[in-house]
Symmetry: D2
Subunit: 145 residues, 4 copies
């Protein structure tokens, strides 16, 4: 499996198609079936107990799998999340960005399945773990080798 | 099981403890173990294909279960989501608020479990379904009758 | 949406295609988009603490959604589960059968989504809750009205 | 984190406390926070389309996480699964045993969280992926270092 989009192409795509949130995310690294993404954490993401909100971690996990799938199928804004099961395991540190590491476990004709670990930047233990399924629009469908 | 917080108390609590997002949510109705919550949808929630973002639906499902749990245990900002499994089933309409209907299926000593259906306002079929578990801090623990 | 298989047809189908387990399940009632299924609990399903095993509850939830989907699309042995998120909420009673109540929340071209509540027979509070997605083989695909 | 139970102790525990199913599982390897478990596949596990049943894969994922947790907390038959989100990604081969690789991502006071990949023996791509949470009984609670 080869990359169809580079790190720079993924970031440009995100800025163009998701102008409301694209600037919050940076692609750290992408290789076939694996990606690392950073999310800027600011006051909008904070919650009582001096921690980062669950929806912020969800948003990062979701974007991470989206970009991992796009890196393999090419620019396709209409790929949509069909399901996500996320476990929140530890309190993220309030003053640190979040880092997500995603991997694609299956790229099928219609569905892509993967998982994501989310970390507070610099920490060793993950704060959250998510299994995510994306639906791939028919026009861009691709089959596993 | 009796309500420990009314609709108005839930809304005030949300505004006070979650100033960044509290204004987006309105409690439509709350009875023991069931709640309905409305989320204002604006341009920040929109996505390609003229629809509402997954993280917005997640945020609504999460807040809905949070308020359903608080209505039974009383004001407790530090209750935290431990897991959420969400299925995205249909595209929400871009120009409509989202309505969530949540129910608490278990209120245990340490964990509360429930589920939520999310609708585009006025539509009959749900756009998303979530099963959510909340961890209840020891100080406020409560046991099922 | 109309039923394409009656209660008796669903049971015959199960016995024929799943000879190893079909005899454990009884369809109590089926209407469009809703079904109730009973599972016989015997010593093979028991676990330490005098309760019923998690895999037994999973198997019942899975069969229940399978039959609910078949009741709407017709006999199709090759429909397959793509995901299941199950919460175990209470200990089932060891000496009682399990009852599952399933509903289909979406019947799409390629995926069917629903959820299931599992009860110990005679009890009011559910022991488990599952959200389940089934993949529908192309030959039998059906669209929502 | 150190092992409190060896491979042999885990297998003896399983045979003793789960006489109905213990013989189906073999611990291949266990190190702190990681484990590999094999499940014997026979005619009872098979399904239409010459494949292995979903409940069989669920049972293996569940046992794998259970043993991974026990290896860290010691023999504790009453640890119970509180939730499992499983994605079925590929058809397992009918004639091959299943191999599961589990890791513990969090071992908290009351909850342990981990995930499991399931493979057909000899295959490179996983057939299923599960995120699993176990509840740890108070008597044996252990805290992360």
């Amino acid at each position: 499996m080869k990359l169809k989009m580079s790190r720079d192409e993924l970031e440009r795509f995100l800025h163009e198609h998701f102008p409301q949130v694209g600037g919050d995310f940076t692609v750290i690294e992408v290789v076939p079936r694996e990606i690392a993404v950073r999310m800027k954490v600011d006051h909008r993401n904070l919650r009582p107990g001096n921690t980062v909100s669950g929806p912020s971690m969800f948003a990062l996990a979701d974007v991470t799998m989206y970009l991992a799938v796009l890196s393999l199928i090419g620019p396709e804004a209409l790929a949509v999340t069909t399901s996500c099961a996320i476990d929140f395991m530890r309190k993220p540190a309030a003053g640190r960005d979040l880092i997500a590491r995603g991997r694609v476990l299956k790229l099928g004709r219609a569905l892509a399945v993967g998982d994501v670990l989310v970390y507070s930047n610099g920490a060793e233990e993950p704060v959250a773990r998510a299994g995510i399924t994306y639906s791939i629009p028919p026009a861009r469908q691709i089959t596993e080798a």
